[in-house]
Symmetry: C2
Subunit: 518 residues, 2 copies
Amino acid sequence: MQLTQALHKAVRECPNAIATIDGARRRNYRQLVDRVARLAAALRSLGLAPGARVGMLALNSDRYVEYLYGSLWAGGAVNPVNIRWSVPEIAYSLDDCDTRVLLVDDAFVSLLGPLRELSRSLTTVIYVGEGPLPADCLGYETLLAQVAPAADAQRQGSELAAVLYTGGTTGVPKGVMLSHDNLAINVLATIAAAPRAAQVPALHAAPLFHVGGIAYVFQLTTRMACQVIMPGFDPGLALDLIERERIVESFMVPTMIRRLLEQPGFAQRNLASLRTLLYGAAPIDSTLLHKALDALPNVEFVQAYGQTEVSPMVAVLPAAYHTLEGAAADKLGSAGLPVSTAELRIVDDGGVELAAGEVGEICVRGPTVMLGYWNKPEQTAAALRDGWLHSGDAGYLDADGFLFLVDRIKDMIISGGENVYSCEVENALLRHREVATCAVIGIPHERWGEAVHAIVVRQPDAHVGEAELLAHCKELIAGYKCPRSIEFRSELPLSAAGKLLKYVLREPFWKDRQRRIA
Amino acid sequence: MQLTQALHKAVRECPNAIATIDGARRRNYRQLVDRVARLAAALRSLGLAPGARVGMLALNSDRYVEYLYGSLWAGGAVNPVNIRWSVPEIAYSLDDCDTRVLLVDDAFVSLLGPLRELSRSLTTVIYVGEGPLPADCLGYETLLAQVAPAADAQRQGSELAAVLYTGGTTGVPKGVMLSHDNLAINVLATIAAAPRAAQVPALHAAPLFHVGGIAYVFQLTTRMACQVIMPGFDPGLALDLIERERIVESFMVPTMIRRLLEQPGFAQRNLASLRTLLYGAAPIDSTLLHKALDALPNVEFVQAYGQTEVSPMVAVLPAAYHTLEGAAADKLGSAGLPVSTAELRIVDDGGVELAAGEVGEICVRGPTVMLGYWNKPEQTAAALRDGWLHSGDAGYLDADGFLFLVDRIKDMIISGGENVYSCEVENALLRHREVATCAVIGIPHERWGEAVHAIVVRQPDAHVGEAELLAHCKELIAGYKCPRSIEFRSELPLSAAGKLLKYVLREPFWKDRQRRIA
């Protein structure tokens, strides 16, 4: 399959339908395709080789859609940058897969100086902002105006389409390589699992550098929908856009749904156009669902569970199970049923398949499973065994085949929809010379779902305090990964084999609640 | 993608769900997969090489499903035999792609003698009937009992999955090569275009050697449905099965729907379970639809237009357009909107793209377009140009992007420089109440190149003559489109698929001349 086919179809079948809305800018599919083909021409004129990566460090915008498709149309692959990363993390993700061209918007132009100093691969920066052209940058609109639209390179099938960096369970970012087939088959599987009307206005709420946002762009374009985009999630703006553009569906994380409902003046809004809220990254808790069903009685809620390595859809919990009554309510805590492209099995540490109800590692096989990790043959071999992706998620299948997530194998924390890998935070803490050992866990947080909490054992005679350790962490990792709270203890609970028992640490925080991790 | 993945999923997700019902035999997915894996083992023990073809010459049965999947599981490709073909035609379709193994049931066992004499490739016959084992045959059940289930060969992607012979309407059979990707992507595109519930009982009405029937097997298995099978379409038996097995959907040709409605005792049947009737091969006429909507008010009708070369789905006319009132009624004669895997364009003789409303050849591009014709590089090159399949169908797109079929290109008549679409003339003739069926062809004409000639079958006891029919036509269509001559016959030649064989009708007129081919 070929991801750009959706554009060829749209420009043929509905050239005048609005493709993107970003603030006052509205572009139809003919204009979108023209701009995509011009960006592709510009990228080629800059020497982009087939399969070469193109990065973007920016808030959500209509240009993000143009960037995703323009890079593919040029014959390249996208390497969208996580906007919460520190400069060293960004440089790593560019250099690791040799990304030479980067698009940057106004929000991140201040990082360019240190980024150029640190990155070995970065050679060309395209400025997609609204201000005056920064030094040593090419202007996006000027580039597009200077070239004639290029013909589509028509890369397809198993050819590389994206390198998406994930924190990984080890705390070392890994570039997940996804092909045209991976991402295009995911589109069809998602539509088949959650059928919705075509050509409707839809709101992008999730960041477009995430696999969830990227996959939603591809899906909406395939459905020839109108993609309404805001720079970042803002509940007031989201409500404005739902009213003004008569938004029919959106994809959110549960925290966003919560913030939407809690927005002052929510009850006065006219949200009658809204039909479907897909949500992912975490299951919805029953209190929030109760509120949401009450507040939006005509909206269908659909949970999507996936991960970057599966392009990303693994399972879907259909609208019918979003109820608090009857037999279906038992499935509300579930991640749903496998989509038609995903075979699932649960295995123990030795790779032996487990029976229904038994907790083990979730493994996935199918045509949307990644090509591998960029330049990481060992991690690839560890993740892909006999054709099965070992997801790193612990869970079980119930007797009806519904998937339940129990824990991240390596104790991932989900805070405000962002994945925080505890190892990475622990590694940062451990680099402080007065830290002997530590454990980072997720504890309940009203707004973010979980907050990052650290338990630290100091070196003998050391006296480092919370503030100093926090400042230390902020130098090394993104703000959202830093602990929100730190406590000090004299020892950590260990198993007989000497392994840290995080569930023992988590227990007192979670005793009254069910902790669920996607 | 890998067509057998559907079986791996089904045996994992719903092993005890009924997979096939054929008369008194009911098999669940665990049993189906066991039998598929055993058939694969048997085929391999017979020396089947990777990608080698396996034929089946049989009426519809549960074993047909086992054959389709068993051949793929073994690593082979299917070459299902058209059951209406003569022995020389069958031998041609086996020899052309070197099919050595053939499964044969009781209905066709009498053809084995002459077939073995004629065919050069056929070496092994597996008897899938209920009677005593014929000479020089292997018994299907004995073979399955003798072996242990084989591991799935897991062929996939662009590897060959099927060679399907078409060409009935031109008289030159061609083996359409379809890959795992072609057929598996078609499944997802079909489900996305016409979403229906999973795991429901569905009735196979179309022959399983046809691309329509084969694609429906793959689609139903992916949806983990229960496939209810009858040997051939019988309206009384179909009604029995709908009642007894509480059938929820079926795929039929319009003639089958007509026969269902005309079956004595139809009104007394309890068909409340039926939700969807997909139909293909021909648009439904308004008289039939009126009857059908009246008789089955709770059934959604969905038209599927495709051809073997596109695996087969090209366009779908959704249920909403199956109405006789309002704006949507204008689309009833349409083949619908392109599915999400199909780009469509209409071109003239010179390959120039035409505007909306202009009639030309329908061309299709996308991931379900065939690999090519077996061992026919010239015909393949003629059909696949710059990635576009030239379908041989004439049609146009209306202003809303709905596809309307006009004729087969080869059936178009060029008379005095004017294009005459035989369908249009036939539709005019059919509106005379004494015409039962008819065919309009071009015959040689000294001055105009071709002249419009009609062959008409009258209704029983009707006596309408040439003059009256000509006068009737002149009231409905332009003079140059009206037949120059009309002859009356008692029947018309039909293909195995029930399609009119115009080349047979044309042959006596053109035997000494070369007819230009569009």
